[in-house]
């Protein structure tokens, strides 16, 4: 059986087979219809197959786009929350470290300008205000009290007994 020679895309249509004004959409529709008839004997069923194909493709594309947008939005929101929490955690841990080791921002004992880390020198309320000014966030500080929120707890020596100092970030 001799096969018909294929016409290249873009090449001019043979005279009498296809009008010169035929659009590419019409060509695609005819091609889809031809493929349909190759698999089915029912010619009526193949009418409008291109339109159906396009609708299914559009619905699929819209679904994928919607799912992508939803996933991106959820992911971005979750990421922003995670970063915010991480930043608060970092501030609380840093503030608690200052409480233990510094006598200007923290509550370490100071003598002749020297700080004694891990030795409690009082002024826990002042430290909270100083740390809030230094970090730009609201930092609450406590000694031997329970606290709520994102808090870091550290141990200091008050006399011969240990006390728990707490730095919390709102």
């Amino acid at each position: 059986m001799a096969s018909k020679p294929h016409r290249r895309y873009g090449a001019p249509a043979p005279a009498g087979r296809m009008p010169p004004h035929a659009s590419s959409k019409a060509m695609t529709a005819r091609r889809a219809s031809r493929i349909c008839r190759a698999f089915s004997n029912d010619g009526a069923a193949c009418r409008g197959i291109f339109d159906f194909d396009a609708v299914v493709a559009s619905v699929l594309a819209a679904t994928v786009l919607f799912m992508g947008m939803t996933a991106f939005s959820t992911g971005a929101h979750s990421f922003a929350e995670g970063v915010s929490l991480l930043e608060s955690e970092r501030t609380a841990i840093t503030a608690a470290d200052y409480l233990v080791k510094d006598c200007d921002l923290g509550v370490a004992r100071c003598e002749l300008g020297f700080a004694y880390p891990h030795e409690y020198g009082g002024r826990i309320g002042d430290a909270g205000r100083a740390l809030s000014n230094a970090t730009g966030k609201k930092v609450r500080t406590y000694a031997n009290e329970s606290a709520e929120g994102i808090c870091a707890k550290r141990l200091m020596l008050n006399g011969t007994r240990a006390v728990v100092v707490v730095a919390c970030v709102d």
């Binding site: 992911g75 990421f79 995670g82 841990i93 329970s146 707890k153 141990l155 020596l157």
Partner: protein, 133 residues
């Protein structure tokens, strides 16, 4: 040839969708970062530091290392742990050891140690804090 081309294009599109899904899922993993490991090491060091600096606790640890009673140490560290959180603390002094607040199985642990001068001998004091995973 056309079918192969179409198959390759479909595979490429599928791979693009999978890559996009993977990229979108990455920010979720980033939110699992935490500074808790740093904090845990700080807490273990705090236990070692305040124990070694306090003359009272140092004496209790030296007595414990020499085979003395562990009750005083258990009460002292138990009170501290009740204010800190539900952690498990293992105190080792010389060859002796005792556990405080250790109820269930713990996964993550950090240790800090100090050398204590007990009389004329140095004793190794180790503080191991264990946490839930």
């Amino acid at each position: 040839m056309r079918r192969l081309k179409a198959f390759l294009l479909s595979t490429e599109a599928l791979l693009s969708v999978i890559a996009a899904a993977w990229l979108l899922s990455q920010p979720l993993a980033a939110s699992e970062l935490s500074y808790r490991d740093v904090y845990r090491h700080q807490l273990a060091q705090d236990f070692a530091e305040v124990s070694a600096r306090s003359a009272e606790t140092r004496a209790a640890l030296c007595a414990f290392a020499a085979g003395g009673d562990e009750k005083e140490l258990k009460e002292y560290y138990g009170e501290l742990l009740s204010k800190l959180g539900s952690y498990c603390l293992r105190v080792e002094a010389g060859t002796e050891q005792t556990d405080v607040g250790c109820a269930g199985g713990r996964a993550f642990q950090v240790t800090a140690s100090r050398a204590l001068l007990c009389g004329e001998e140095f004793v190794d004091a180790r503080f191991t804090l264990s946490f839930d995973a």
